[in-house]
Structure formats: structure tokens, C-alpha cells
Amino acid sequence: MANAVARPRGINGLVARSAAVFAPRARNLQGLLFCLPLIFLFIAFVVYPLYFEVTQALDRYTYEVLFADPIYVQTIVNTLTYVGVAVNVKLILALLLSGILQSDSRSVRFLSAIFLLPWAIPVLPGILSIRWMLSSQWGIMNLIMEDIGVGTVHWLASRWMAIGALITFHIWKYLPFWTVIFLAARRGIPRELYEAAAIDGAGPFQNFRFITFPMLKGIYLICSLLSMVFTLGDFTNVWLLTGGAPGDSTHVLATLAYRYTFLMGKIDWGVGVFATALPVTLLFIFILIKKIK
């Protein structure tokens, strides 16, 4: 046979065969030792927390307690609303805006730079500014409302107004980022497709329907999933803007878990709240990985 190699026989053959068998193992051991720090970090910061969360989350009593708390149920509704509305409105707007910003004109380029500013502003001053703007007593929004005759609006003093403010802030803050992503994706669509469509007499809407959207739908789905995962775990924006008020009616899962864990000392309940979101997050990540592959 062409591939057949004559093997040495006797003691020399045995040594050679042993070396062939053990050398890769020794190299594997060396590699393993080099990887140990990383493995240790992975176990300490991924496996153990996950194990801790899953074991805590398996306690049925935790869920009995959580479902007996009306705030928990309200929080699930809030989270679904926040994630569902904020992410979808933001991404639809981002998709549309990316089309406008694709223009090569100077004015649009200048506007793009301005448009990116909210993303560049750190979260803390951004939210504090919005809180001051929405203050019932002193906020600029109410000064404007009063000037145009609408009267005082208690922006953060009612559940749905406060959640509306949260969603608005989220869109304002993160819209530029996703617009830039879609803009980059649009630039990757071959121009020849549009030229061919133009020869066939396609207008802007047909271009969008038959070329742009089909070419972007994969990345749109990935962006949606990524944004949902980020938003599902959002703590900072909600905590800084409403802190769950008024009347604990604007909590999302992350802030409620914080409230249970650190304000009430109920770590198991806090973990239970996070565990509520875990299957959804894992599902999103699973779809995401499949999609990327």
C-alpha cells in the first residue's frame, strides 16, 4: 500500500512507539498547566456563580414567596414592557435612521456626529439631567408644559409615565449605537443590487422591501437578541431614574433582585428573581450562537 510505513522491530521499536504515544500527552499536560489560571478563573467566576444561582434557584419555596409578592408579578410585566417596547422601537428607528445617515452629503455627516452624542455621554450625568428635567417642581419639561398651557405633569409620579420616561431614555441613549451598526451593515450591501433594481424600475420602498431588509434581516435579528439580553439585565438606568418608585411600581428584574438582596438581606429571593430571567437569557444566547454559526 502506498501509505504503509515499515515499523522498527525489537527494543528500539518499543521505545519509538512509546515516545510516539506519550509525547503528545506530555505536550497536552504542558498546555493544560498553562491553561490552569484561565480554567481557575472560569470556574471561579462562571461555573461557581452559575452553580450557586441554579442551586438557589431550585428552591420551590423561593418562588412561592416571590409569587405571593404583588411587586414581583408587577415587575415581570414591567420588564417585558421595558424590553419589548424599548428594544423594538429603538431598533426599528435605528434601521430607518441608518438609511438616512447613509447619505454622503456633508450636512448628513455633520448631523451623524451630533446624533452620536447621547451615546458618548456617560450614563450617570445623562440620567441625572433627565431626572432634573422631569422634576415636577423645577423641571424644564414642566416649565414648557405650563408655558404651552398643558399644566404640570407629574412625570415620575405615576407608574406608566415613569416607565415611559425609562423607555424614552433608553431609546435616546442607545439608538445611536445600533444605528451605527445598521449603517455599517447597509454599507456592506453590494451597490450592484440597487443598480439592477433601478434598471427594473424599483422605487425606494421596493428597494427596502426586496433588497435592504432581506440583506439585513440576519443582523437585525442578532442585534435584537443582543439588545434584549443587555436590556433584560439593565440595572443602572432604572435604578438611577426611578429607583423603582413610585410605590415600587417601576422595578425591573435587576432592580427588584437588588432590592431583595441588599435592601432586605434576602439573597435567595434575589437569586430567584435573576433565575426568572435566566431561561429567557439562555434561550436568546442559544439562538444567537446558532444564528452566528
Binding site: Q30, S136, H154, A245, P246, G247, D248, G265
Partner: protein, 470 residues
């Protein structure tokens, strides 16, 4: 030159041996250095407080020949730190946090995670103001008995602060003795002040409110406000044994009246709309900026701020006054929170920790510490409370009369005071931590529920929580 396998194994063996000697050897060296005491202390509001405690720690270190590792942390962070430490069983020997009495002690005494302090309390009992000491008498659900699981040291009570100069500006009596104390007249007085000020100068006072009443779920001030008003309306939530009696007809009626009163007040237009979102610092901030005429506050932090930053305000432009008499007559009863030191059960040196507490609480030494807080707290010990500072306040340090500290002292010593009920059951800690009365206020103020419906939801929730703790 490439590294050979032998070199590599030599290097990793040496590193492993080094790490092992570090892990095993160094603690032994450390243990040989002698006794060490780890103290976590709530950072004070004023540097004098912290300086006094550092001096005490240094004196203890010298007197007992021990190493004292004392650290100061702000209350919100310290609460989280203590909870995490007890869960992880890596605790200090002494922990003093302003939230201990409400959120830590009842819960962890129940779980048998705190050292019993009955020995310390027994020694200190002759010095204690009896009204305060029961706050540490908690139930241990493992030992199935009540005992002392903390050492109470200082108290805070409800006060009402107001701007005298705002009242004066519209010709209203501003002397604390002239403020009407009958229930309706009292609250109407501040409403009248708002109306008069807005009328006098709409541009300046158009956004000013008469009553800075916190009605949110974010503020512990709400709990004080609710419980004070509930006492005024003659209601009780728990009996002496810690059983829920909020659903008894008399108490339910008082709760409904209380919630109704808060809802009316909020919707009257005399309370800032954002008061349902306020955290504990927001009424202070609104008072400092003179956007409210008065505010109830359960410590003297507001006047103390002005004492340091604007003594003229402290002595001449503002004053502190009592909570009004009960609607049905009689002087108000006052809710008191008593701040407490703990020794966790897993502490490495619990006895040394108790020794440190005894050392801190020796009369002269403790008086120095508590006076460093400039009247923010009232001592839990009768001998320290006799210090002239608590009767006269800051007199002579910028003005002839102190309208704040002596009034607070009068409330502690002459009025009927009631310690918050956390000590009776950890379930009640949870009731407060959930701020269910703030939630009930939100039901009436935001969701526009009737007061009786909101009361029933809150009572139901309270009973559920108590059931979960059995």
C-alpha cells in the same frame, strides 16, 4: 532559547511551593503577632464623630495591647457589607451600622448568626434608659428563646423643622411656642403659610410647598411618618408578643384613617408632587433649598447641617417643633429607632469585641463620641444624657438659644416614646424593608385606590410575611 519541559516543570514546581508556603506560612507569622480586633463602624456625618471613634480605637489598642483594625463605611454600603459578610461567614468582631436595629439584628438573631450580648447588657443595665434597651431583645429561632443580640447605644426620634423667616415674611407667628399644636390647626398652619407666601411673591414662591411630607417607598422617613400618624390615630400593628393585630377592627380603622389622611394631604396641593418619589435625603434637600416650609425628619441632620454651614440659619432662621397633639386629644407619642452595635457569631474574637464595646461605652468616652455627632443622636444611657449639651444644645456657638437639641431632649425624656417593633419579629423587619405602608400610600396617591382597599392589601401582605417567618 526555547524552554524545555524540564525547565517548565521546575519553574511551576517552584511557583507552587512558593504559593503553598505563602498560604500556610504567612498566617502563622500573623498569628504570632498577637490579638487583633476587626471593627466595622458606620461612617459619621461629621468628622468629629469619626475622629472621636478613631481616638477610642487607639486608646483601646494601647490599653489592651491589641491591634485594632477599624474601618468606616457609609451606612448603605455597610449594610450590604455586613449582610454579605454574615452570609459568607467572614465577619468582623464588631459591627456598628445605623441599619442594624431595623434590618440586621432581628433577621440574623433569628438565624442564630449573632453572638448573645446579654452579659454586656446586664452590666450596663443600671445606666440604660429602659425605653431603649428592648430593641436588642430578639428571638433566636435555633435556640428557641429571646435574648439580647446587640448593644443599643443611641437613638433618633421624629422632629418637625420649619423656616421661621418664611413665616415671619408673611406675618405669621414664627416662635416654636406659638405654633398651634392641635392636629387640624397644626397642619392648616403650614398650608396657610404656603398660600400666603405664594400670594405675596408668585414668582419667588410659585413652586413652594407648605408641607414636606415624604410618602414614598424609597424613604425610611415614610415609615416614621406613617407610624407617627398611626399612633396619633390610635392604631397598633403588633401586640406585645409580636403578633399581627393590624386587622383588628379598631386598628384597621386607624390604619384606614391614617392612609386617608396621607392621601388627602398629598392630593391637597400642599405637598410636593415628587414627595412620592423621595428618598431619605430629598426632604432635606428641599428644606435646605427653601422649597418647603416644614418637613418631618427623624434625626437632627437638617439643623446640624446649618449649624456647620450657616449658623445664622441654625440659631435665628429655623426651629424645631413637636409633632402635633393627637386628633382625639393628648400629646403625641413618638417612634424611636435605637442604633445598635453587633458582634457576629462567627467573629474570630467575640470576647475582645465585647471588651471593645464596654470600652467605647464608658461614660466620658461615649459622651465625647456622641457629642461629636452634634446632637444628631440621643444617648441610650441616662448618665450621658445628663450632659448639659443635651439640655442646652449649641448655645453660645453662634446664638443665644438653641431651638433644636433641647426640644429633641424634651421629646425623649418627657413624651411617651415607643421603640420600633422590628425586635419583636424579623417578619416586621421585612414589613419595613418592603415599605408596605409606603406602598399603601402609593396605592391611594398614584393608583387612586380607596384607603380601606389599600389598607386591606397592606394588612394582607403583612400577614403573609408573618406567616412566612414561622
Amino acid at each position: 532559547m526555547g524552554q524545555t519541559r524540564r525547565d517548565f516543570l521546575k519553574t511551576t514546581s517552584a511557583a507552587g511551593a512558593g504559593a503553598l508556603s505563602g498560604a500556610l506560612g504567612f498566617p502563622m507569622v500573623s498569628r504570632a503577632q498577637g490579638r487583633k480586633l476587626v471593627v466595622w463602624w458606620n461612617r459619621g456625618y461629621y468628622k468629629e464623630e469619626d475622629e472621636a471613634m478613631i481616638k477610642i480605637a487607639q486608646d483601646f489598642q494601647k490599653a489592651k495591647n491589641v491591634e485594632v483594625d477599624i474601618s468606616f463605611t457609609i451606612q448603605e454600603d455597610l449594610l450590604k457589607k455586613i449582610i454579605a459578610a454574615i452570609q459568607a461567614r467572614r465577619v468582623p468582631d464588631v459591627a456598628f451600622c445605623f441599619y442594624n436595629d431595623w434590618e440586621v439584628m432581628p433577621n440574623y438573631a433569628w438565624q442564630d448568626k449573632l453572638a448573645e450580648t446579654t452579659d454586656v447588657i446586664t452590666e450596663l443595665k443600671p445606666r440604660y434608659n429602659e425605653k431603649f434597651v428592648q430593641v436588642a431583645y430578639c428571638y433566636n429561632n435555633v435556640a428557641k428563646k429571646r435574648a439580647y443580640y446587640g448593644v443599643p447605644i443611641e437613638a433618633q426620634i421624629m422632629h418637625i423643622h420649619y423656616w421661621r423667616d418664611l413665616l415671619k415674611e408673611v406675618g405669621m407667628a414664627d416662635d416654636p411656642d406659638k405654633i398651634p399644636l392641635k392636629w387640624d390647626e397644626y397642619w392648616d398652619y403650614w398650608k396657610k403659610a404656603q398660600d400666603a407666601l405664594r400670594k405675596k411673591d408668585p414668582a419667588k414662591y410659585g413652586k413652594l410647598y407648605g408641607i414636606g411630607m415624604t410618602e414614598s417607598t424609597r424613604g425610611s422617613d415614610t415609615i416614621y411618618n406613617f407610624e407617627m400618624a398611626l399612633l396619633s390615630f390610635g392604631g397598633q400593628l403588633l401586640d406585645q408578643d409580636g403578633k399581627v393585630i393590624a386587622d383588628q377592627p379598631k386598628n384597621r380603622e386607624a390604619i384606614v384613617k391614617t392612609l386617608h389622611w396621607f392621601a388627602d394631604l398629598y392630593n391637597s396641593g400642599y405637598v410636593p408632587p415628587d414627595a412620592i418619589n423621595w428618598s431619605d435625603g430629598d426632604n432635606n434637600a428641599n428644606f435646605h433649598s427653601k422649597s418647603i416650609v416644614m418637613t418631618p425628619n427623624p434625626s437632627l441632620s437638617i439643623p446640624a447641617h446649618h449649624f456647620f454651614n450657616a449658623p445664622d440659619n441654625y440659631f435665628f432662621k429655623m426651629a424645631t417643633v413637636e409633632w402635633p397633639d393627637n386628633p382625639g386629644g393628648g400629646k403625641a407619642s413618638y417612634m424611636v429607632a435605637v442604633k445598635t452595635i453587633l458582634v457576629p457569631k462567627d467573629a474570630k474574637a467575640p470576647d475582645l469585641g465585647k471588651e471593645f464595646i464596654r470600652f467605647v461605652l464608658e461614660p466620658n468616652r461615649f459622651a465625647q463620641y456622641i457629642k461629636g455627632a452634634n446632637g444628631r443622636w440621643f444617648p441610650a444611657f441616662n448618665d450621658v444624657a445628663k450632659d448639659p449639651f443635651f439640655a442646652k444644645g449649641q448655645v453660645g456657638k453662634g446664638g443665644p438659644v438653641d431651638y433644636h437639641i433641647p426640644l429633641a431632649t424634651k421629646l425623649y425624656l418627657e413624651r411617651n416614646v415607643k421603640v420600633f417593633d422590628h425586635w419583636k419579629s424579623p417578619a416586621n423587619s421585612q414589613v419595613y424593608a418592603e415599605n408596605i405602608w409606603g406602598k399603601a400610600m402609593a396605592r391611594t396617591n398614584v393608583d387612586k385606590w380607596a384607603a380601606d382597599k389599600a389598607a386591606d392589601e397592606a394588612i394582607g401582605r403583612m400577614k403573609t410575611i408573618f406567616t412566612q417567618w414561622r
